[in-house]
Symmetry: C2
């Protein structure tokens, strides 16, 4: 895209007695900007182009009118009735933040949903040696995590703690009662069923925690002799399928809080209640929670319970539908990361041989920050 | 409460052809339990009384009928049509998780809202020497944080890093791009306005982060000569006042996502969009976000903007209403913790003398876990 040409204003008009500025761009797009919004976003309100704001919207006058506006060499000069000096607005900034439907749609991030069909292509992956040396390789790997909620990393040194070093490529370990990292091996009398050789259904980790861990990394130090195949499923794809096929079931799951808990007597008592399908204020998917080991007793009116169980079971079956799931085998040195708000993971039971994984949690905000910084650099 | 007597079942009845069990307790309360729910919560489905579940609801039969039920010495014995052996249910567990309206209401946690009037009493506080030695003192202090979203701690050693030691009393530091802890002092050319001597309006920290830091701790190593008074305000109390006085304004703020951002060129680019008043799936308050320094350009249809600005400004004015805010002066060795999802903090500008605070972030799940564990021990 030729940003220079696109971001050039062709003409402007003051509308509605000065409360609206209509800008026509070189590519024909028209963007309308309320005077109040322009006053609140003058360069004078910020420390530098991307700096922090110096003004609270509370401090603006109640009514703001544009007295004059003109396209000049350095941008768009706007005079407001309430400020002595005119402001010079940056057309590129205005275009990037414009409020017309097309500009708003361009800014909308839509997750790239996937199902079993992605197993027909190479899975999203990178080499450890590349991402530690090369910014473009790291950017590519982080983009997989952002867009698909899942990525593999091959050739990670099989030294204990290496999983935390991978986190430091993009962010910070989230320490919990399980430590900065945790070992997943078969042990006697484990506190947690993850530490046995049983198969584990597809699940998200730690729904009893608020905030839920956003990213989980699992690093294979030793692979089992047989079995132990890992499984991932895109919970957002399953939820959107449910929203399409059974909207009432989807709505019921999205508005019903379910309790989760994890207790180690005398040491840990984690509890949280939230929907299996959590939406944000805009109705977009925010967090999937599904974990049969930690779900608490359902707390609903008795007469509402059968309907909820039917919805829960319908969702649970879809989350295990082979058409939606992808299996792969972890070899020593492999690591996978999932967005634990979106992608469920599980494993088939394993038999002979010792299996040893190390896992850790991290938050996605730092990963997205790193991704944006790398996008400008590469 | 005499739990033994209360939790005694007096009589029971099988209803609706076996799909419902009605239990009448010694205190007269009647609780109805669907057969499906009872089958899903049999002791056989868990590893021990509070252990993890071994069963996914997906694995239960579609229709479950109670064949027989009887009060016996050890509890309530229930025979289901789909299982060979009867299950022995624990009455105390059933009462604690019962689904009748009174039992469900008893489990509902309601935050204890506050306003400027709490300044007429001693502020919620404890002594550092007490909470580090005495479980009951620590429990009391954590209860303040849980119920009020705010508490002071006096007599914290003025050694750098002590704020992280306080976190380790109940949980784990959330590391961010600001480090495990950050210093708040006046510096030249700061990246962040917090590091100047300016007054700061009441705000929540880091709304550009997802997950938002849930707890913030600020520890005073050196107090300023004059000014620098700290301010806190219960954002939940303000939001509930708005919900009561102007329900349409409240709804508009709760359904409108606003973008926040924090950029250090070449290093950090944190962005998140969420409402100023975020509700959970049940309509309860979940997170308040208010930060005039990091709020991004409002991304709404131009014709919807004036209404949003009016609502935003109304909320902002209420958050600074002296009837809602509490001021206090930090002395060296004082520390305060706020639930950053609920309580805003600010400060008046300060003049002569050096002021040095150290701050850190932590998550509330570990704090609540610690609180529940201590409640059983003390």
């Amino acid at each position: 895209m030729d940003t220079h040409a696109t971001f050039s204003p062709a003409s402007l008009a003051i509308e509605a007695g000065g409360v609206m500025l209509a800008l026509t761009w070189a590519d024909g797009r028209v963007s309308r900007f309320p005077a109040l919004w322009l006053a609140d976003n003058r360069p004078e309100t910020r420390r530098g182009a991307e700096g922090q704001r110096l003004l609270d919207a509370v401090e603006l006058p109640e009514h703001i009118v544009i007295r004059a506006a003109e396209i000049v060499a350095g941008g768009i000069e706007v005079s407001f009735d309430c400020f002595e000096d005119p402001s010079l607005l940056d057309p590129a900034w205005l275009r990037l933040n414009a409020l017309d439907p097309a500009s708003r749609a361009e800014r909308r991030r839509v997750p790239q949903l996937w199902d079993a069909a992605i197993a027909g292509h190479p899975l999203p992956a990178a080499e450890h040696a590349a991402v530690t040396r090369d910014k473009a390789a790291l950017l590519g790997w982080l983009r997989h995590v952002d867009r698909l909620g899942f990525a593999l990393l091959h050739g990670v040194p099989t030294t204990p703690g290496a999983v935390c070093d991978v986190v430091s490529l993009f962010g910070y370990v989230r320490e919990t009662n399980y430590g900065r990292l945790f070992d997943v091996v078969s042990v006697e009398e484990p506190h947690n069923l993850a530490f046995t050789a049983m198969a584990l259904g597809n699940h998200t980790d730690n729904p009893y925690r608020d905030p839920v861990p956003q990213l989980q990394l699992l690093h294979c130090l030793e692979a089992a002799g047989e079995g132990g195949e890992s499984i991932v499923v895109d919970g957002f794809a399953v939820a959107e399928r449910l929203r399409r096929e059974q909207p009432e079931t989807f709505d019921l799951l999205a508005r019903t809080k379910v309790s989760f808990r994890y207790v180690e007597p005398g040491a840990v008592d984690l509890r949280h209640a939230a929907p299996l399908i959590e939406l944000d204020a805009g109705g977009d998917l925010r967090t999937i929670r599904y974990n049969s080991r930690s779900i608490g007793p359902i707390d609903l009116d008795p007469d509402a319970l059968p309907g909820f169980y039917a919805a829960h079971r319908r969702f649970g079956r879809l989350l295990h539908d082979p058409a939606m799931t992808v299996g792969f085998r972890m070899r020593a040195g492999d690591l996978f990361v999932v967005d634990n708000r979106r992608v469920l993971h599980g494993r088939r039971g394993f038999g002979g041989g010792r299996r040893h994984l190390q896992g850790t949690y991290a938050d996605a905000d730092s990963l997205l920050s790193k991704l944006r910084v790398l996008e400008r650099e590469t």
